[in-house]
Point group: C2
Chain length 254, copies 2
């Protein structure tokens, strides 16, 4: 039986790798990677560095092109646009797994952060299995997420004593405002800067970009006081590097 590992490699610091991830990487015959174009070549470089450093044995790397995705879909069509893109990725993954792995072969995907947090790989592999053309087991290996890297760098505890918190997306924050029932919200995938549109005057923000890398930037303070600075940092770094990965915690003051 084929096995496919989905291995979380952390938020950007090569030292985020777990011993479990290193061991899993060394059981993989074929690493599957999706080429996202020039923009994210820093990230592709880090993946290659991790392989060079931690996988001394023989292995192959197979590349495929990422299908185009409608990133401008309106809020109502977002899930639909993602589903469509996941269908096309499923076809690509199916071809790679069926074509490149022997009957007892082991494949691997190295994913940023944790496979369980805003990553599509596990879901796409479920779709491939449901298509029924190729059979394989899936093993998920947790990794340090950008949320955890953010908390560590700001020395934060994400929850307050006896309280819950929300993890959500920038799009949802823009559509619905600060989430109900909690005073703490972690926000990911906020390309549009939804935090800047919040009217709340009792929020602190703890923001970080390129967490765990030499480019790391951190800003924290009263949301209304620092939001312009965060927007400016985002624009400057995105212009310089061509991409940005950032996340933040919004915390209601008591």
């Amino acid at each position: 039986m084929r096995t496919v590992y989905v291995i979380g490699i952390g938020a950007g610091d090569p030292e985020h790798l777990t011993l479990q991830a290193v061991a899993a990487m060394n059981r993989v015959d074929v690493f599957f990677t999706i080429d996202k174009g020039e923009q994210k070549s820093d990230l592709a470089g880090l993946r290659a560095e991790l392989l060079a450093r931690h996988v001394p044995g023989p292995h192959r790397v197979v590349r495929a092109r990422d299908p185009e995705r409608d990133r401008d879909a309106s809020s109502g069509r977002y899930a639909e646009a993602v589903a469509d893109w996941q269908d096309r990725r499923a076809a690509i993954y199916e071809r790679m797994i069926a074509g490149e792995l022997g009957a007892d072969g082991t494949g691997g995907f190295l994913v940023w952060g944790d496979p369980a947090l805003y990553d599509g790989t596990l879901r796409i592999l479920d779709a491939v299995r449901a298509r029924g053309a190729v059979a394989f087991d899936v093993v998920s290996v947790p990794g340090i997420s950008s949320v955890q890297a953010l908390a560590a760098r700001h020395r934060l505890v994400l929850n307050r004593v006896g309280r819950g918190f929300v993890v959500t997306t920038g799009r949802r924050l823009a559509d619905e405002g600060f989430p109900p029932g909690v005073d703490d919200a972690v926000v990911l995938l906020d390309a549009a800067g939804a935090f800047a549109g919040l009217p709340d005057t009792d929020l602190d923000v703890y923001w970080g970009a390129y967490l765990g890398t030499p480019d790391e930037v951190l800003v924290s303070g009263d949301l209304q006081a620092v939001k312009a600075r965060i927007l400016a940092e985002r624009a400057a770094h995105r212009a310089r590097k061509g991409w940005i990965m950032d996340t933040y915690l919004l915390r209601r003051r008591r």
Copy 2:
């Protein structure tokens, strides 16, 4: 200047340790541990195993007794009971740091899971620094949390496409029911089995105990159909081992 590392060591699997955690452990002169009595000796044993395996150089381990905590405080007094216990722990930490670390010494706390998730150590160290009797820097090192171990073992993605989720406590779930505004909730610290009291008939549960250890137990399915089985598993394992650490995801079916 003194430095105190708060190092997440993962959810129970020694392979959860990150390379960063191993490096941090090797910079520590004195490891501080809090003795929680016989009950959790498995956990103390794993801590000792990690030190033996990964810290070949000279280091000391200093133990202190955990102050008593009022675990029967009513919901309204929970935060107060925790604050009182944290004050007493702060006094103990202050004595250990001031008494055992030289002026440039490095101390370390090894904490389960991630220091940012339902762990009191960072908060207590903030309280020690606020007392002003001993100065030190704090470095937080993220670790694989039980939430991530749970997701990996069930091969779950915690969020659904474009959606947020809540991380909360069993006590809050018991008091307030399923959280508003989301269809997915991760629950920790549920000693009383709050899931069993939920009236919702459209929830699936993904439960795990002793995640990442040889004693790991997993149950999943329709909440109403499997809740009795989870309660029975919890009771049996708690009776056998003297303690249990478990967590679960509640997911509303569409």
